[in-house]
Structure formats: structure tokens, C-alpha cells
Amino acid sequence: MKKDIILAGVGGQGILTIATIIGDAATAAGLHLKQAEVHGMSQRGGDVQSNLRLSTEPIYSDLIRQGAADLIISMEPMEALRYLPYLHGEGWVVSSSHPFKNIPNYPDEEALMTELAALPHVAILPIEEVAKEHSLPKSANMVLLGMSARYMDILTPEQLRESIARVFAPKGEKVVADNIKAFDLGLAIIS
């Protein structure tokens, strides 16, 4: 079994934290893993992505082939669309609905959301608002991870929760509890 995941967003939105948690869970589960990241110039507000490949078999390429991704997880709706050619026919897109407009020529928001919502397998949520409503403003990315957990199937929600606890442990119990709560919110909304 394999799971090829593209994590997308804008530099500084925290996609590497999501990647770290999935990576930690995969390692703990004894899966093979490759996780290509973007470091350097693009981290200054440019488009960033991480190719995350999990498999029960050894993995060769650090990069996912076009038409091979099982899941696109995006902190930003336009960034979700950027990687569509990498998705296979049954693949899912899980995205925040909140646009991050740091360019003057950002596309028409309505047209963008229409295109995204028209995909056959898509879950879109205002993760920032959901996080804020529950007084977890810093955990929007964990809401997104919770939403994605439904489509991850190579890892269980419980394995991801344990990983959140491990990764955030150095920041204290409250941070761990908040992030698990945000994860569960995302998971419940999709279930």
C-alpha cells in the first residue's frame, strides 16, 4: 500500500508542521517515507509544497509523478489547484477556503472557489474560522490535518494523534491538547 500526498500552501503557513506530524506517524508505524520540502527563497511568502510519500514498500523517487498523488492537502485554495495535474482520478483535495492574497493579480475569488468546488473529490473548509470559533487560532493547520485524516488510510487517526502529542510535547501540555482538539474538530467535520 502507498499514499502519495502533496502538501501545499504559502511560505510561513505551517505546512512543514503538517509534514512533520505525518512523517513522525509514518516512521513510528514502520512505513517507508520520503518527504521532499521547499527550503530557501520561496519560504519568503512564495508558493511552497512538500511531496510526502508513504509506503509499505521501498520508495525510489523523492518526487511524486503527475497523475499519481492520492491526496492534496492545502492551506490555501489557489495553491490546492496549482498541483491538480499531480492528482489521480480517485484522488482527494482537502483545502482551506481562505485565500491568502499577497500578489496583486490573485484570481477572481468566486471563479477560483467554483473551480475548486467542482472537483469530484474535494473537501473545503474555512479552517481559520473554525479554529478561531473554538479559541484555537494557532491550530488551523491541525484542523486541516484532521480533515485529511479521513483520506489517509495508511495511517489511523489515533496514530496521527499520538504523533501530534510527540511533536508538540516540548511546547507543553496545553499546546498538545489544543492541537489534538483542533485535529478532532477537523476529523469530526468530515465524518
Binding site: 527563497m41 519568503r44 512564495g46 511531496n51 489547484l81 495535474p85 500578489i103 484570481p107
Partner: protein, 527 residues
């Protein structure tokens, strides 16, 4: 034990476990995380950042001279800076093992070119190792140091961005102990007067046959055993993964993996004899393709980047390699309609923004003004909304290009350079300008860190006024300002004053990088 590591971290841990006593490096994407990992995890290894790649290379050679193992790391363009010391280290030879790690950036994700460091290894006539995986990068380190000490030559290890910045699980072994202090007594090896240098060079030339036999026997060069195929693939370093991702065995295509150079010529000839044609898959420039063409003769069909089978430029991907292998791919989704490019930008609140606002205000009053930029976050001042700089070439070129342009009659000629870039390669150019009394205005935009690569210490912090005065800039023309919107009137006035001065002036706008400031605030909060 298994560890999840970035390729860079696998290199770092491999070197630490190979018993290095020091790492010498200047930050540069995609090599930075190697030294950062050693700084964070190996206090027994000397690891402070160096001023530039040349000082790093020379210090590493000095440690090798003293009998200990050393690592020097840089991005590909850093090899140009280190080249004098690098090429000559092959002539002196080494004492303790010396590995030079060059991290190339095909597709120029964070670079101004995609030069292929393997050419430097061939040029210097030393062994080159090119790992295909993070595990291999880790495993190759003790092998590289043993090879270096056996051959008495530096070894070049070349990685690319996708290996450097991708994580994988690594099986880790027991660390080796560091070498003891044992300085070399063979002065004739190290004093490269022409008489000695000729002897040393002759020795290097003689060693080439041994280097070749090492490649033929290398555990990192291997092959599939398939007889008689229409097409065979020679896959170098990371390209091997992209080839294997396309399951060549299902297509009946044999693969020869090359991860150690000089090219194993006999192995390649034997492999080519099994096939009717060869595809050369290599990330970077078509170095191997050119050599294999020469090796196999004009009648043997060799395809690759030079023939259009693979793109002439840009990094390899499983997709473009698949296409070269004739694998057809279905991807149901075309490019989306509502997607625009999202280039990086200077952070909100960044001091460089205020510097460019001020420069643009003043430059608007001087239609002939030219602003020469440099390498760092502030290169983003070339993009909207600032569009403030007219050039960006290499580390330090802002000052010297401004000088040359001023010599030619350009006025005002303004240089914008960051603090770390200034100490890397700007100081010597400033001395030229002072000695020539060139009419230039140098802006050292000091954010107290090496920001673009993630906030490493900057070699000149708290020393810039003293450096400029020491180089001979007149004290009244070394001006320090705080780049904030509220100071705009003062800053623009000072820029105007200094443009009118008929000599070298230096303006230092100084305010801490927003990223390092935020990080400090976060750290204080968790404490």
C-alpha cells in the same frame, strides 16, 4: 537504529560518524542544513560559520594537514569562490581525510545558475561521489574519508536540492573516533613552488589509473544483469531514483547506476555492449553524456539532454525521465484555470523594505541613477512593488560593479549589499573603491543575520563601522540609520548628501531581521 533525516542531515551525521573534527561552511541553499545539524547535534565537532567558502575550504585543508578529518560544505556557486583553494588541494594532496560537499541546485530554486559541480571534481582530477539516496549519502561518508586518506586526495561529494531537502529514514551505525593530531612533515607536498608543484601534479596524473580502478570496483556503481536490450540506461546519482520509479525492469530496460567518478569506463563499455543504445540520465549538465559519447564512439547511439530525449536544462523528475523511457502517463487533471504564480517577497515589516522605499524616492530625482544589487533576501527588491535594483550577479558584485560603472561615468552609482554578503566578498571591493576614490554610495543593509538561508550568524555583526573605517572610508561618510518609515526624511536626506560626495560613502541602515526577531520573541515566551 532508524532516524528520519533530511538528505543534508544524513550527510552531516554521516560525516560526524566518520570521525570529522571540523566542518567549515558558509550558508547557502541547499547546503545550509548540513552545518546547522552538526552545530545542533555534535558539540565535539568545530562548526562555527565561516566568512566565505574560500576561507572554509582553506581552514578544512589546514585541519587535514594537521591529520584530522574535515568537511567543507557549500552550495554550487560557492565552489566558484572556493575554487582556488579547492583545485590546489588536489595538488598538495591531503593528510587527514577531506570531503568537499557541493550542493547543486538544478532548476535554480534558490540560485542564479545551475552549474554542475561534477565538472570541478573532474577539473581537479579527484574522485567524485554522487549519492542517489539519503541512506547512501550517510553510508558514503566513512567510505569517502577512507578513500581520501588512502588516495591522499580530497573527495568531492555532490548532492542536488531534491536529495538535500528530502527526508527519509536512515539506518545509523556506530560512530568512528576522531583522528589524533598528526601534522604532515612533507613540506615539498605543501609548498607549491613550481618545482614542487610539477612533482605533485605528476603524482596526481599518475594516480588517475588508481582512481579509475576504484570507480570500476566501487560498491556504489552497480548494474542490472539483463542481456541484449534495445535501450540501456546509465543513471547518475539521484537520476537513478527517477529511472527506478518508472520500473524499467518491467520494460526490459537494464540500468547501470553510477555514483562514483571518474566514470568506470570498462564497466560502461561492457554495459553498452549489451544494449543497442544508451540513455544518459543525470541531474545537472550533460557531463557524463559528453564523456560517454566520446568513450563509445560516434557510431554508438547515446541519447540524453544533448539530444532532446531529456530537457536540456532544469532538474530531472520522474515524469521527464519516464517520457525518455517511453512510459506513457495518464493524468486526468490538466492545469487549473485560476492559478497565478506566487513569487516570494520581502517580509512585512522588513527593514530592507524601508531601504528600498528610500532609495526609490531618491533615485526618482536622479534619472541616471543605477542601483547595483547583491545576493540575499534584498535581491527580492528587484520584484514589484519595488523594482529597485538594476543588477544581481554574484556575492559582492554590487560594490565592484558600481565602482566599474562609476569609473565609466555612471552617476549616481549605488550599491546595495547585505551585512553577511559584505563580509563574504564585499570588503575587498570596497578597498578597491577607496584606493581609487571612486564616486560610489554603498548601502550595507544590516539586519544582523544571514537571513535568506534561515538566520545564521553573520560574520561582521557589530564590526561594520570599524571595517569601513579600517578600509579607509572617511569617518564623516560612514552613516548609520534605522530603516523605519518614521525615519524616511532623515534617510533620504543622508542618501542625497552622500550621492553628492565625490568619493566612497557607506550608509548602514541597521535593524534586526523580522524572522530572527520573531523567533527570539517565541523562544523567550516558551522559556
Amino acid at each position: 537504529m532508524m532516524k528520519l533525516l533530511l538528505g543534508d542531515e544524513a550527510v552531516a551525521l554521516g560525516a560526524v560518524h566518520a570521525g570529522i573534527s571540523g566542518v567549515y561552511a558558509y550558508p547557502g541553499t541547499p547546503s545550509t542544513e548540513i552545518t546547522e545539524y552538526i552545530q545542533a547535534h555534535a558539540p565535539e565537532v568545530r562548526s562555527r560559520w565561516c566568512t566565505n567558502e574560500k576561507t572554509a575550504m582553506e581552514a578544512a585543508l589546514g585541519m587535514s594537514y594537521a591529520g584530522k578529518r574535515s568537511l567543507v560544505c557549500m552550495k554550487h556557486v560557492g565552489m566558484n569562490v572556493a575554487a582556488d583553494a579547492f583545485v590546489n588541494s588536489a595538488i598538495t594532496g591531503v593528510n587527514g581525510g577531506l570531503v568537499v560537499l557541493a550542493a547543486d541546485d538544478p532548476s535554480m530554486h534558490s540560485s542564479q545558475n545551475e552549474q554542475d559541480s561534477r565538472f570541478y571534481g573532474k577539473f581537479a582530477m579527484i574522485p567524485i561521489l554522487e549519492p542517489s539516496t539519503q541512506q547512501e549519502a550517510y553510508d558514503m561518508m566513512p567510505y569517502a574519508y577512507a578513500l581520501s586518506e588512502e588516495l591522499k586526495l580530497p573527495v568531492l561529494m555532490r548532492v542536488v536540492t531534491r536529495l538535500a531537502h528530502s527526508r527519509a529514514e536512515i539506518a545509523v551505525r556506530e560512530p568512528l573516533r576522531q583522528n589524533v593530531l598528526n601534522p604532515d612533515n612533507e613540506r615539498t607536498h605543501w609548498v607549491l613552488l613550481p618545482g614542487n608543484a610539477r612533482r605533485q601534479y605528476a603524482t596526481l596524473v599518475e594516480k588517475q589509473a588508481l582512481l579509475l580502478s576504484k570507480s570500476e570496483e566501487s560498491p556504489y556503481n552497480s548494474e542490472f544483469k539483463i542481456q541484449n536490450s534495445k535501450l540501456g540506461v546509465l543513471a547518475c546519482g539521484i537520476a537513478y531514483n527517477y529511472v527506478m520509479e518508472n520500473e524499467p525492469h518491467k520494460l526490459g530496460i537494464p540500468v547501470l547506476k553510477v555514483s562514483q567518478y571518474p566514470l568506470p569506463e570498462a564497466t560502461i563499455k561492457a554495459f553498452a555492449a549489451q544494449c543497442e543504445s544508451l540513455l544518459i540520465a543525470e541531474d545537472g549538465q550533460p557531463m557524463v553524456e559528453e564523456q560517454v559519447k566520446a568513450l563509445l564512439g560516434a557510431d554508438y547511439p547515446v541519447i540524453g539532454r544533448l539530444t532532446g530525449a531529456l530537457p536540456r536544462m532544469g532538474e530531472l523528475t520522474p515524469d521527464n525521465v519516464g517520457a525518455a523511457l517511453g512510459v506513457s502517463v495518464e493524468h486526468p487533471y490538466a492545469n487549473a484555470q485560476n492559478v497565478m504564480p506566487r513569487p516570494p517577497a520581502l517580509c512585512q515589516g522588513c527593514g530592507h523594505r524601508d531601504v528600498y522605499d528610500a532609495l526609490n524616492k531618491v533615485a526618482a530625482e536622479y534619472p541616471d541613477a543605477r542601483i547595483f544589487g547583491d545576493i540575499g533576501c534584498y535581491t527580492l527588491g528587484a520584484l514589484p512593488p519595488f523594482r529597485a535594483i538594476d543588477s544581481c550577479v554574484d556575492m559582492g558584485a554590487s560594490i565592484t560593479m558600481a565602482k566599474g560603472a562609476a569609473d565609466a561615468g555612471v552617476h549616481p552609482a549605488i550599491a546595495v549589499i547585505g551585512d553577511s554578503t559584505f563580509t563574504h566578498s564585499g570588503m575587498t571591493g570596497l578597498l578597491d573603491a577607496v584606493n581609487d576614490k571612486s564616486r560610489i554610495t554603498v548601502v550595507i543593509s544590516d539586519n544582523l543575520t544571514t537571513a535568506m538561508t534561515g538566520g545564521q550568524d553573520s560574520a561582521g555583526t557589530n564590526k561594520f563601522e570599524a571595517i569601513c573605517l579600517g578600509l579607509g572610508v572617511e569617518p564623516e561618510h560612514v552613516r548609520v540609520v534605522v530603516p523605519l518609515p518614521k525615519n524616511m526624511e532623515e534617510i533620504t536626506r543622508i542618501i542625497r548628501d552622500e550621492i553628492d560626495y565625490e568619493g566612497v560613502s557607506v550608509i548602514i541602515p541597521r535593524r534586526e531581521c523580522m524572522q530572527t526577531l520573531k523567533r527570539k520573541l517565541r523562544q523567550n515566551k516558551t522559556k
